[in-house]
């Protein structure tokens, strides 16, 4: 996605990069708010009948199960849709329209290819958060974090700079994957400690 919204590409399409990016980040964040708050609201009836400590244990177990799937334990593979955003939109619509549309789809988390179980666990946690407000906070965080790396291509104005971004992404792919595992492990520990503490 980073290579899809660059100043280089937007100039070629006659669009202003910052407009497209603003729409993209806004769309992703709003989608996160919508999904998170909806799940928080819908799950509140179930969550309200569970002690928070039990919910923390469920989340911790889900994180651990997800990590096992992510690393391919027991031959398991992460379930996902194969769908991606429609590349044709970029040629057919104004920058802010497709930027917003891409953002909405990616900020929803699971309507395009899912590469990490933490997305599913995040939405599970939003469902168990107990309220639409808490779910919205969780969803906002996801939607914003999903979109904001786009700012890293703000200086791409030549093809060689785009190739450099691609190379950096390739170089950081494995560390990013391991960092996600690490955050998951810490989150699971924190959830279990929280459940034990209170």
């Amino acid at each position: 996605m980073l290579g899809s919204i660059t100043p280089l590409g937007e100039r070629g399409r006659g669009s202003r990069w910052w407009v497209t990016v603003t729409a993209y980040v806004l769309g992703s964040t709003l989608a996160g708010v919508a999904v998170g708050s909806s799940l928080g609201f819908l799950g509140s009836s179930v969550a309200g009948r569970m002690p928070v400590t039990a919910r923390l244990v469920v989340i911790a177990l889900a994180v651990i199960a997800g990590l096992l799937v992510d690393v391919g334990s027991f031959g398991l593979r992460l379930p996902t849709v194969r769908r991606q955003v429609d590349e044709a939109w970029r040629a057919g619509y104004r920058g802010w329209v497709w930027g917003f549309g891409y953002g909405v789809q990616l900020g929803a988390g699971a309507v395009t290819v899912v590469t990490t179980s933490t997305i599913y666990v995040t939405w599970l946690a939003a469902s168990l958060s107990g309220s639409a407000v808490a779910g919205a906070l969780i969803g906002t965080t996801f939607g914003f974090a999903r979109a904001i790396p786009i700012l890293s291509v703000a200086s791409v104005r030549r093809p060689d700079q785009l190739l450099h971004v691609d190379a950096v992404l390739v170089r950081w792919a494995a560390p990013a994957r391991r960092a996600t595992y690490g955050v998951g492990a810490v989150a699971a520990c924190l959830a279990l400690l929280g459940a034990a503490r209170w």
């Binding site: 928070v52 958060s129 808490a134 996600t180 955050v183």
Partner: protein, 32 residues
């Protein structure tokens, strides 16, 4: 915290979830 996020345990849950949300969002940068 906002209404609905009052107890310390609930706050722990939200903190855990927000951490997961950040990790999930940033990690998705490497989605195809």
């Amino acid at each position: 915290m906002s209404p609905g996020m009052g107890s310390a345990t609930t706050q722990t849950l939200v903190v855990v979830a927000v951490a997961l949300a950040v990790a999930a969002g940033l990690r998705s940068t490497w989605s195809p």
